[in-house]
Symmetry: C2
Subunit: 380 residues, 2 copies
Amino acid sequence: MKLTVLKQYLNESIGHVSKAISSRTTIPILNGIKIDVDSSGMILTASDTDISIQSFIPAEDNEIQVIDLKQSGSVVLPSKFFVEIIRKLPAQQVEIEVKDHFQTTIRSGSSEIQLVGLDPEEYPIMPGIEENKRIQIPSDLLKTMIKQTSFAVSTNEATPVLTGILWTITDGKLKFTACDRHRLASRETNIDTEEGMTLNNVTISGKTLNELAKILPDQNTLIDVVFAENQVLFQINSILFYTRILEGTYPDTSKLIPQFYQTEIVVNTNELIDAIDRAYLLSREDKSNIVKLMMLEDQSIEISSTSSELGKVTEELMTSSMKGELLRISFNSKYMLDALKVMDSEQIHIGFTGAMQPIIIRPNENSSLLQLILPYRTTG
Amino acid sequence: MKLTVLKQYLNESIGHVSKAISSRTTIPILNGIKIDVDSSGMILTASDTDISIQSFIPAEDNEIQVIDLKQSGSVVLPSKFFVEIIRKLPAQQVEIEVKDHFQTTIRSGSSEIQLVGLDPEEYPIMPGIEENKRIQIPSDLLKTMIKQTSFAVSTNEATPVLTGILWTITDGKLKFTACDRHRLASRETNIDTEEGMTLNNVTISGKTLNELAKILPDQNTLIDVVFAENQVLFQINSILFYTRILEGTYPDTSKLIPQFYQTEIVVNTNELIDAIDRAYLLSREDKSNIVKLMMLEDQSIEISSTSSELGKVTEELMTSSMKGELLRISFNSKYMLDALKVMDSEQIHIGFTGAMQPIIIRPNENSSLLQLILPYRTTG
């Protein structure tokens, strides 16, 4: 293998695939990045078995010659050092030459780096994706949906399926659901699908989707998502992002959501965030995160938290509207802030069905996003 | 005590004094910030016994009424929560009221915070500074001198005096010296002093001076430095920064610096930094940080490092000039990078007196800054 490649393209590709490299891998060759080169271009591959990412550098890009190929071939190079040194090379051109026993020489300007390469035959083969179902979704929408739900996944590895986000498709609607034992986040969107296409029990790790979100372009590019037996493939321009589907059956969460409300309020999102944030600061000191919400006769609400050591924070906030019984309810302020911060709406609607029943938060004029928080049982 | 103060001024002052708060203090009241208010203004005080910082908020600033005083008084408030909550208060005005038993109420907009305050009588008294010697130094120069030397202090607490920077004054010259057992950094500057003023054996913790540097304004303000028996006071506009002088006698380092050179090179600073940085990346993987420098007949130098596991980095660099015997020498690349990065000069001069003798690095046309690195003994 011998070629010259533009540093900028190589760096960008390395940046993408290196997100799949885990420092905790037990398979030594997965500490490396695999490079395959032929006349069409260069493919970089990295994997931690949960995620595999491939990035393609074309030989030519918009009439720019990106790669000058002398000889095709493959090699696996130690990722950590490779990533760092490429970024710091002095010249725009990087020459890579692989000789016997995968001895690799990288030249750029007056720098010469000799690297002990590994045999690419020992690198795991990418999962075969037998195409099953395919959808297209705009990059920025996918990013938003991940942001609006991923924080609510469980961190408890004892129930792996709850560490993921459930993807379902019915009647042309794609829905994300995430929940742990204290809260639930869900977001729906209309998508174009083949007639009658449905998707059930496809759960993808929340951590993995957050990694995916870092690669997703901000522009409104269409992302192809291919669902296979136990793998999902995301095609993002010249990047292939593979991940496995989590095992286990996702619980039915539909019954958690109340059908009617006893009390409903509409309130300015940012004002509520700021008030709860100040109460949270104090509640955090007590490690409880408990904040109380009390509805008052004059359509205002009082948010408060108490720390036996430090004191008390009391906030008063006018609602835009309040209907139903006046309630007192306590909740985890950290969970409430997580839910409020992804609302993306000036006014939000909060529905209550009693002091011990789930709190439901939605943007005021949009029902595609729903956040549920279970209240705390407190005295007084 | 009762007053209203502009949040912006209070926040800025809290920002300054909070640098003196240590999370590891064993004296509970030092977890607090002391507030003293009278008709002239408000003084905030924080201390971790090594450093004490006072910041003054004037009642009036450029015809802006900053403080509206109702009643003078003092209180100590829990710093961590106080710092965070003030930053997040909703309104520009902050009312602080202290009642019986130092029960404190903070009001701003629709927020009300009750805090358990502590008795200011229990707060340690600031060190008495019996004025002894005083100098003035521009803020940006002091900042630069700290940056150019503080990285070279020892981190070994077994020899406390070496964890500090030695300040000496002779013949109108202020000199900073820092050293551990492997390197030395020194920087000199002319200052206006009283006739015949000298300063010996004043050593101030490197960590403390780095904290001071964070407060020093970037503008060319004159800082007053007052040296007392065992304390130093820095006066920075409305801030007083007290620190103690480290105990022990600083070693005589003058004999470490060679009087003549066997070999001298002049080289472009940034090119050398970049070349050593790439060699460092590899040397770091072996945890040795060893890099070799070899002088070649054609006035160039070769920088290289080797890792048995990963490979080798070789860099070639043309010098601007080279005089004397051709040398091979090995050194700690991390130490060399630390020294080079504070050079502030396009070209640097490096002097050698043999493969086992100290390496001396200076800006090419300025002798006020000197960096010394001891070489490594290596084979081959």
